[in-house]
Amino acid sequence: MEPGLGSYLALSGILFSIGAVGVIYKRNAIGMFMCIELMLNSVNLSFVAFSRHYGDVTGQLFVFVVMSVAAAEAAVGLGIIITFFRNRMSVDVDDASILKN
């Protein structure tokens, strides 16, 4: 027997909340990046669940687009992290305070 739409959506919501709490808790830039990936994945899960439920292929195309955006984000975001580490010798987001004063 197949689990209903609600189970997939509940799993998606739980993963999204865990990712959001991780973004709040972590101060390591790479850790925050990975939690953002977790949130993107939970949204992908709800897209695929709706796509299966309604029998429409559009949701899976959105997942494809989200994955491409995540790949672009990984390339640019990790470039930013490397540049930041080169200037500050740290990836702690508390050290990113050059615009503060």
Partner: protein
């Protein structure tokens, strides 16, 4: 049968997600995140979306996480320092997360209760051919835009991670004099 498989995979995904948030060492977090991605790929297979499952493994667990682990290795990160100030913000973050979870579950519950027509089109949806047909006919413009976005990301990443130098003014002036 399928629901037992779903609950096993869902439990594994949630446990790996909690471990990803909990661990201070970024390498442990990355490995836990790979566990989440793989179990989500298996869940996509049970949702009859084999194309998305394979792309999930190739792009996420393959490319992106290899990049992340490579950067962790390159930067030789230590563990997170314990937070000395603003310690009271931890419970506030937990409460915010619980509120967000409640909101999300309420919205999804409302969605599942609305009347709709659940169509059963069988196994055609999610096969690579149907996705490819939709991608290159109805959704051609978004696919092109995604291509341009990826090109911009490549150029941006190359410019960003290049070592910035002081512009060599003498060379520029010298070439200008030569031109004149």
């Amino acid at each position: 049968m399928l629901d037992v498989l779903f609950f096993i995979l869902a439990g594994f995904a949630i446990a790996c997600a909690v471990s990803c948030v909990y661990h201070k060492n970024p390498l442990y977090s990355a490995i836990s995140l790979i566990g989440v991605l793989l179990s989500l790929a298996c869940i996509y297979l049970t949702l009859a979306a084999p194309f998305i499952a394979i792309v999930q493994i190739l792009v996420y667990a393959g490319a992106i996480m290899v990049l992340v682990v490579f950067v962790i290795m390159l930067l030789n990160l230590d563990e997170d320092k314990p937070l000395t100030r603003l310690r009271y913000l931890y419970p506030i973050g937990g409460v915010l997360g619980a509120v967000l979870l409640a909101q999300t579950l309420f919205v999804f519950y409302a969605v599942t209760k609305t009347p709709h027509q659940a169509s059963e089109q069988g196994n055609v949806i999610g096969q690579t051919m149907s996705i490819g047909t939709a991608m290159y006919t109805e959704y051609l413009l978004p696919v092109e835009i995604v291509g341009i976005l990826l090109l911009m990301a490549i150029v941006g990443a190359m410019i960003m991670s290049r070592r910035m130098r002081e512009p060599n003014l003498e060379l520029v002036e010298g070439s200008k004099e030569d031109g004149e």
